[in-house]
Amino acid sequence: MYSIILATASRYLLLLLQMFSLFLLFRGHNEPGGGFVGGLVAAAAYALYFIANGIAEAEKLLQIDPFYLIAAGLLLAVSSTMPSLAAGMNVMTGIWFDTGTALFGKVGTPLLFDTGVYFLVLGVTLEIIFSLAEGDLQ
């Protein structure tokens, strides 16, 4: 079910979607969006690529075992709880840096948390899709 039209389009859309997913992640604190939706859109990009080009191509594109993404996402999310523990504050208390940027808004541990969510969602979704797709091949 390979279509050259879809395959070509998917290659260009991939970048577009990935960029948009990051955009959703970073401004989620101020506008609709956030790590979860961002992660889903990123996963959607890969899903599109997979449908257009096949599972092998998609896995090659990702390069990394989705489980490591999951683990990394969880680790990021958990590690955002650590600074406050180390500082003797209540666990998960947000710690913010004074510098802010136009795109991100303020930078702080909650953003780290959201980034963890992003990676985790990406990893989870891809793991599920890839497992299912590989299951098909068997």
């Binding site: 079910m1 279509s3 039209i5 879809l6 389009a9 260009y12 859309l13 577009l16």
Partner: protein, 115 residues
Amino acid sequence: MRETAGGILVLLGTFFILISAIGIFRMPDLYTRMSATTKASTLGIGLVLAGTVLYWFDIAIAARAISIIVFLFLTAPVAAHIIGRAAYFDGVPLWKHTKIDELAEDLKNRGEDSE
């Protein structure tokens, strides 16, 4: 004035949207429905969004509206193509008044060649 122009664009857009809705309801087979409708709605949405841009007249809004338009114009034909193709190979029948089907002929020939 600008807002009024926006309003008119919106109305125009919704007109095309309605057309496509009626089209998809009225057309005889899948392919004609797709031919008739996907673009009409794409155009319609484009117009509505353009109206939105005019109404707000703000770069952030424009960026969003334009990205939607661009994205739609990029993806709508691909989507139409992929469905049409899948439907065709899935055996969705053509309208009985369809004049010619060169794809079917070629497929038949190709099939004979390869066998």
